[in-house]
């Protein structure tokens, strides 16, 4: 390894590592067709190939690998949710994150920085206490901390008692982390393609053929493909794709906007979020401040950036970190979030026999990527719904058994 690195350094060409070979021709039939090549889609393909020996798999992507919400999220990893089902699910995901770079031998730049959520009201402190208790009971590191502890943890945070919403306490989540989002899709795609999975980019699914309650084929802009089963993993287009299979979902799609500053020297270690002033801020390993959490006030299938959100995100970020007033904004963008009524995902079986849902990923999809790849692959391979994702099935809405995580968002969307 050191010699390889030395050789690379001395080479005048800097040869690029060959990650994977995208497939060229679509075959007539695949055992599994996965719609969407983001972290989730490629993760499912990777687990099918590596752990279940199912390699006649096509991942169909209308754009390019990782071009959707995998590239548009703000890369927050945490498990400090409120319900037992939610905490257990995200806790297992965080565990998988810890070893992900080794898992597929590709560096996702996982950094355990911790996550701090701020309380600006008595009501928020009560809910943080509740979350901390639930989290600790389930083996997740969360604790309520006071103003002094906050000031020690984040010395440059505005702790003034004269601000509009003074900080009263915090929920400190030591398991909080961040990782390089693109690398997750690249790592999974590399590992899947090495094992025979076919990745077809610029291949848009335009229709889904259903015969007697079963999917038989998908129609794409490059021709018709027969398939044994279909998994949809298209965050931001869940309703549109599910509709092709005749499935209606409890989702409204809203743009969520974020922005990033120029790179600066490292001065902020943890991820800091405030549901009250509607913003979260962290500094990337490259030095940029990511400022996120600006949900548009009405649904839209459009990833435009608006001045309204720039103003409100900036105002909120400045309230927490006044020194950012001098920072220059580099870019602003949006991702489409498929919001469910209970702020939990929709995973597992659908009304169509061999059509599996990995949908409703709202603002919580990135952190769940590894556990989704693992559990959805297990479902496809064994036809049995893994216990850990059973609570998230679509049927819960018909039984009025929602898993309410609306109180555990990073910036109350």
């Amino acid at each position: 390894m050191p010699f390889g690195l030395l050789k690379y350094g001395l080479s005048s060409e800097y040869p690029a590592e060959h990650h994977f070979t995208p497939a060229t021709e679509l075959k007539k039939h695949y055992d599994v067709v996965i719609i969407g090549a983001g972290g989730h889609g490629t993760g499912i393909a990777y687990h099918l190939a590596k752990y279940h020996g199912i390699t006649n798999v096509a991942v169909l992507e209308k754009n390019y690998l990782g071009s959707g919400n995998t590239a548009r999220n703000t890369a927050v990893i945490r498990s400090n949710y409120l319900t037992e089902e939610g905490v257990t699910f995200y806790r297992e995901s965080v565990k998988l994150w810890q070893d992900l770079s080794n898992e597929f031998n590709y560096n996702v730049m996982m950094e355990n920085r911790g996550q701090l959520t701020l309380a600006h009201s008595d009501a928020a402190i009560r809910s943080f206490r509740w979350r901390a208790e639930v989290n600790q009971h389930l083996g997740v590191r969360s604790e309520l901390i006071d103003r002094q502890q906050i000031a020690e943890l984040v010395p440059n945070l505005n702790m003034s008692e004269d601000s509009r919403f003074p900080i009263m306490a915090g929920l400190w989540h030591a398991d909080g982390a961040t990782a390089r989002h693109d690398a997750v899709a690249w790592g999974y795609a590399k590992g899947a393609c090495e094992r025979g999975v076919e990745l077809h980019q610029l291949t848009e699914v335009q229709d889904i053929e259903i015969t007697q309650g079963r999917v038989t084929a998908v129609k794409t802009n490059r021709g018709r493909v027969e398939c044994g089963c279909v998994v949809q993993a298209v965050a931001g287009a869940s309703s549109v794709v599910a509709k092709m299979a005749g499935i209606k979902l409890p989702i409204h799609s809203y743009p969520l906007q974020a922005m990033v500053t120029q790179p600066y020297k490292p001065i902020l270690t943890p991820h800091v979020s405030s549901p009250h002033v509607h913003v979260y801020v962290h500094q990337t390993s490259r030095g940029e401040f990511v400022i996120g959490g600006g949900s548009d006030p009405y649904p839209l299938y459009n990833t435009r950036a608006t001045l309204d959100q720039r103003e409100s995100l900036s105002a909120a970020a400045l309230e927490l970190f006044p020194f950012l007033a001098q920072a220059r904004m580099l870019r602003q963008w949006a991702g489409t979030t498929d919001m469910t009524p209970d702020y939990s995902p929709i995973m597992g079986l659908s009304p169509v026999d061999n059509y599996y849902l990995d949908a409703g990923w709202g603002t919580w999809g990135f952190k769940a990527t590894p556990i989704c790849g693992k559990t959805m692959a297990e479902l496809v391979a064994t036809k049995k719904v893994p216990e850990i994702i059973k609570p998230f099935e679509l049927e819960r809405f018909y039984r009025f058994e929602q898993i309410n995580e609306a109180g555990a968002t990073a910036a109350s969307h």
Binding site: S239, P250, S253, P299, L300
Partner: protein
């Protein structure tokens, strides 16, 4: 600033309005099954394209309907709810239930 034309108050900044969800005909709560009711409450078309939806001018609490393109974000038209709701709605027991009102 994005404008929305309120049928009552004229063009106003969109930040004065609250989005109120998709317009769906409400099923008769006396006749639907719990499953159909759950679908009415939770499930949405969430269509990409032209949709009809509820909006409220928050300052005057005036509810109305809008036709909007959810891809281009263009509001095609706004109109008062009585364009659709022009008949009296009875919430009494249906005659078929056999109970006198």
């Amino acid at each position: 600033m994005k404008l929305l034309t309120c049928p009552l108050n004229g063009p106003r900044n969109i930040s004065e309005f609250t989005y109120g969800g998709e317009y769906h005909p409400t099923p008769d709560h006396q006749l639907v099954t719990p499953r159909e009711w759950a679908e009415h409450v939770f499930f949405h078309d969430n269509a990409a394209g032209v949709v009809i939806e509820w909006w409220c001018h928050t300052a005057s609490s005036y509810w109305f309907l809008a036709e909007r393109n959810t891809i281009s974000d263009q509001v095609i038209r706004t109109f008062p709810a009585d364009e659709i709701f022009n008949q009296r709605v009875e919430f009494n027991q249906p005659a078929s239930s056999g109970e006198s009102n």
